[in-house]
């Protein structure tokens, strides 16, 4: 029989075990669902508190390094501790003075039964006490003999923990330690796995990247990589680069097989290639053999490759099996080298050409030097220089350098038409562009000049303009036998030579021009000299040097002011101010400095000349005008005396004229009285006593009467003429119509007698005149027209008029006997008669009166006539609108 108490005790113990088991099972389950140390601790602590009732349980982790630190992993309980006793917080182990770290680390449980005994000066413990905790159990968490943390259980009253509770806490601590270690291990493993995966991925991608890089390097590097099978003489591998470099597809190149090198390598390189592979046969491992040769690109271009090869594998007998090689396209480098060589050669030739041109004595020699050297730089059949003369529309072959015979030689001239250069082509040349014909043979409709060259076998023909400034002066031509356009390098060279040639030709022209002007300068009798604005003489022609009695070496001492009178200072400043405005000065007269009482004069012209960087120099030309001045003065003097003499003479003449007129007036007047007596009494006798005279007496008496009548008319006309000289004339507007009417009225008897036809216009104009003079003019002219008519026909007289500018021309046109040309002037002189008085009565004074009258009116009179047909007398007078000229 069991003691019931004992049994009860046992039963209670059993039930506690059962509960303990169930809680622990539950704990195990919860632990299985946890994934982290925190979750593990969280799963453990509440379940522990179900087995060991306590206000608080917690798990701290310990770090034994340096200062021992504990960090709170998880807490479960009703009481709240102040910091640093909360979750996630750290605290040095020394904050718990009752806990001996060293023994705890060895795995010994730490128990404090009354915190109060240690709380003095310990804030952490005081905080615990305030929370109502008086005792503490700390069980170390041991993993692999190492204390990693502690499971802490608090009690709300002082006193020891029961053994059972201690056992439970021990068990749970052991479990927790294992689980935590597992959890940590798991986490660690997962971390490792992740790390591993990450590293693998990284490595993989790095490798992939590396691979890509390598491939790209292989594909993009100028170096072609390949393997070459020596025995088979074929390429067994090649990087993509090689086909691309040669313009083939990869498989196309592969297909060549052993024929690759013989087919694609330059023939000149075959032997060196053979030599190279001979050397490769005996190459040591690691030795690098090099060679350069050319491959032909599919576009026909030759590409240079630099080859480096090394032994890659050997056959069992040790002979070289495969070569590993790199090939680099060095065409550009080769080209550059070639270009460099070309440039050097070009420089040398151009330099030689310059030397030759400098020494050349004529444009022909210059051009010849240019084409000769040009052909050294550009191999071709012919090179020529054609000069273009746009005024004459002619081209001249200035020079030609030709291989073999040619029909176009220097000196040949032909019209532009023979070149048949279109205006467009000409304009392009003018703009500096070249003109190139790829093949003359295929050129339809080739101009004659090119036909000659074509016949001589020239195929490709290049023309490069020769430009002087903007002016096209000629072309430089190149012709070659092959059909191949000239390369850009050749174009460059020709243009360079053309430019140099143009400059040389221009320089030659300038040189010639300079010589010409120098000659003028040297020979000029005028004094030509160059000064600065201050008047210092910088240069002077021989004439000036002679004048100044200076040698060239003394020039710098001379100033213009030394050679001219004082006024030169003023003249010089005038010249300088004009020069500064860019104007020239012409014909300034300056007196020369007086030397030994001789006076000299100079006429100075000057023009600005910018030289030596905008410094003003003045070109002066002084001409000795001393002699001219003397002659001028002489002339002035002569002129003055002449005028005086003319005035004197005029006065003399006027007075002579006056006395002559007075004389002729009084003569005719005084003659009139005796004449009247002679005439009068003769008539009286004739009237009254005629019948008392014998017939002879009668006849003589009639002679007296007739002569008297003629003398009377003569006297009348003479008087009228002499009166004109004394008449004071005032011009005023006069109706010509009225004058003409009066004249016709006066002549009416004669008109009737001669049965004349007079045609006078109604619209005769007004003229500036004097009625008396106008009457005399027209009565004489009309009278003459009635008098000098042909025997067998009645006179027809027409008056016409016309306006000419401010004058009026009145013409009297008759159908009379006319006047021989030689008398056109003479008939207007006094007493000039063409006919005897018997035939045509007249005094020979009428037309003289007309002429004098017309002249007094400021007009003129003239005659046009044809013998036997009639005469036209024309009188030009000022129209009435015109202010009188006299």
């Amino acid at each position: 029989m069991l003691d019931s108490c004992e049994r009860n005790e046992t039963e209670a113990q059993l039930s506690r075990y059962a509960e303990r088991l169930s809680v622990l099972q539950d704990m195990h389950r919860a632990i299985l669902g946890a994934h982290s140390p925190e979750q593990v601790a969280q799963a453990v602590l509440p379940r522990l508190r179900r087995l060991v009732p306590c206000p608080r349980a917690s798990v701290t982790l310990l770090n034994w390094s340096s200062d021992v630190e504990s960090s709170m992993l998880a807490i479960d309980g009703e009481v709240q501790f102040p910091a640093p006793l909360q979750e996630g917080q750290q605290m040095p182990l020394t904050a718990l003075p009752y806990l001996d770290a060293a023994t705890f680390r060895q795995g010994r449980v730490a128990i404090v039964e009354d915190l109060r005994l240690f709380a003095d000066g310990q804030p952490v413990l005081q905080g615990m006490l305030r929370a109502g905790v008086y005792a503490f159990l700390h069980v170390p968490l041991v993993v692999d003999g190492e204390v990693i943390g502690s499971l802490n259980v608090a009690a709300d009253k002082p006193g020891p923990f029961s053994q059972e509770h201690q056992d439970i806490v021990d068990d749970v601590a052991a479990l927790l330690a294992v689980v935590l270690q597992q959890t940590w291990l798991r986490e660690q493993i997962r971390g490792y796995a992740e790390e591993l995966e990450r590293r693998v991925a990284e490595r993989t991608s790095a490798l992939a990247e590396h691979q890509r890089l390598l491939q790209r390097m292989i594909d993009t590097t100028p170096n072609v990589l390949y393997r070459y099978d020596m025995p088979d003489q074929r390429v067994v591998y090649m990087s993509e680069r090689l086909p691309a470099l040669l313009g083939y597809r990869s498989e196309e190149l592969q297909r060549f097989g052993a024929a690759l090198l013989p087919t694609l390598a330059h023939a000149d390189d075959h032997q060196p290639i053979r030599d190279h592979y001979q050397r490769c046969q005996t190459a040591r491992d690691g030795e690098i053999l090099e060679i350069e040769y050319r491959f032909r690109h599919t576009n026909g271009e030759w590409r240079w490759f630099h080859i480096r090869e090394t032994v890659f594998s050997r056959s069992p007998d040790g002979a070289v099996k495969e070569l590993l090689g790199t090939a680099v396209d060095v065409t550009e480098r080769k080209r550059a080298e070639e270009q460099l060589r070309g440039y050097a050669e070009r420089l040398t030739v151009l330099h030689e050409m310059d030397q030759t041109i400098l020494a050349a004595q004529s444009p022909e020699m210059i051009a010849q030097a240019a084409v000769r050297h040009l052909r050294r730089l550009i191999p071709c059949r012919r090179a020529g220089v054609l000069l273009l003369d746009f005024e004459e529309q002619h081209a001249t072959l200035l020079a030609a350098d030709v291989e073999g015979e040619t029909g176009l030689l220097p000196g040949n001239r032909f019209p532009f038409a023979a070149m048949r250069l279109s205006a467009q082509a000409m304009e392009r040349l003018r703009q500096g562009h070249c003109h190139e014909v790829e093949d003359l043979q295929t050129l339809s409709d080739a101009p004659p000049a090119l036909q000659v060259l074509r016949a001589e076998g020239i195929r490709t023909y290049l023309s490069v303009p020769l430009l002087m400034g903007n002016a096209l002066i000629g072309v430089l031509n190149l012709g070659r036998d092959e059909v191949q356009l000239f390369s850009s390098v050749h174009h460059e060279i020709v243009q360079e030579v053309a430019a140099q040639l143009a400059v040389a030709l221009q320089q030659f022209r300038y040189r010639r021009l300079l010589e010409r002007y120098r000659t003028i300068f040297n020979l000029s009798p005028d004094y030509i000299y160059l000064t600065n604005p201050a008047g210092d003489i910088l240069d002077a022609n021989p004439a000036t040097l002679r004048l100044m009695q200076l040698g060239l070496e003394e020039l710098h001492l001379a100033k213009v002011q030394h050679f001219f009178a004082e006024e030169m200072d003023e003249v010089m400043s005038h010249i300088v101010s004009q020069m500064e405005h860019g104007q020239i000065v012409q014909g300034v007269e300056v007196e020369g400095r007086r030397l030994a009482n001789s006076v000299s004069f100079y006429e100075i012209s000057a023009a600005p000349l910018k030289e030596n960087g905008n410094k003003l120099a003045i070109v002066n030309v002084a001409r000795d005008i001393t002699e001219r001045k003397r002659i001028e003065a002489e002339l002035v003097r002569l002129n003055e005396t002449l005028e005086q003499r003319v005035a004197e003479r005029t006065a003399q003449l006027a007075s002579a004229n006056q006395s002559l007129e007075a004389f002729s007036y009084s003569v005719s007047h005084d003659l009139r009285a005796p004449l009247r007596a002679v005439s009068g009494f003769a008539q009286i006798i004739s009237r009254r006593y005629r019948e008392h005279l014998p017939s002879e007496g009668q006849h003589y008496l009639e002679n007296i009467v007739e002569a008297g009548g003629r003398m009377g008319r003569l006297l009348d006309d003479l008087l009228a003429y002499s009166r004109l000289g004394r008449k004071a004339i005032t011009l005023h507007p006069v109706f010509l119509g009225n004058i003409m009417k009066q004249v016709v009225r006066d002549l009416s008897a004669r008109v009737e007698a001669t049965q004349a036809l007079l045609v006078i216009p109604d619209d005769l104009p007004m003229v500036q005149g004097d009625p008396t003079l106008l009457g005399q003019i027209f009565s004489n002219l009309l009278g003459n027209a009635l008098t000098y008519h042909q025997d067998n026909q009645a006179p027809h007289v027409a008056v016409r008029w016309r306006q000419e500018r401010d004058c009026v021309i009145i013409s009297i046109i008759d159908n009379g006997i006319g006047i021989p040309t030689q008398y056109y002037e003479k008939i207007f002189q006094v007493f000039q008669r063409l006919h005897g008085d018997e035939l045509y009565p007249g005094t020979g004074i009428g037309l003289a009166i007309v002429k004098k009258s017309v002249e007094l009116l400021g007009g003129r009179v003239w005659v046009e006539s044809e013998e036997g047909k009639g005469s036209t007398f024309s009188v030009e007078l000022y129209g009435a609108a015109t202010r009188a000229a006299c």
Binding site: Y665, H669, R672, A673, P674, L675, R676, A677, S679, G680, F681, Q683, I684, R687, G708, G709, M711, G712, L715, D716, L719, A720, R723, K727, T772
Partner: protein
């Protein structure tokens, strides 16, 4: 007008006088013509001076035919004096001269000549002039009042 009017002919040229008188006769003009042969004599006559003081014998003429060109006192002078004299200034004076000078003409008219006749060279012309003068001045023309 019972008696034909008296004409005073002032003319220094004897032959012109004769021609004039002949022409008057030829023209059958019955006028009495008194001839003076110089300017001075003409003035003496007209002003009744000296031997011409007796107006009975030398009455004032109805018309003066005056030559211009005369030695000494010429026709213009005679005319000028005449026209200044109130008793004589209305006396018709005809200048009868060889001169066709404009100046002479102008001066003659300016001095108060009543007419200006140019002596023609021919006798027929002279005759014509005389006839016209007779007709016009001695017949048609009304004499100025005394």
């Amino acid at each position: 007008m019972a008696d034909p009017a008296l004409i005073l002919l002032v003319e220094d040229n004897r032959m012109d006088v004769e021609l004039t008188l002949d022409a008057f006769r030829e023209a059958r003009l019955a006028n009495a013509i008194h001839v003076v042969t110089s300017g001075q004599e003409a003035l003496d006559y007209l002003f009744g001076v000296g031997k011409f003081a007796d107006r009975q014998t030398y009455p004032l003429p109805s018309l003066v035919l005056l030559d211009l060109k005369m030695p000494g006192i010429d026709g213009f002078e005679v005319l000028r004096r005449l026209k200044c004299e109130p008793g004589l200034k209305r006396l018709p004076v005809i200048i009868l001269t060889s001169s066709k000078e404009e100046g002479d003409l102008a001066l003659g008219y300016d001095l108060g000549a009543n007419s200006y006749l140019v002596k023609p060279v021919s006798f027929e012309g002279f005759l014509d002039v005389v006839k016209q003068v007779g007709n016009y001045w001695l017949t048609l023309n009304a004499e100025p009042p005394e």
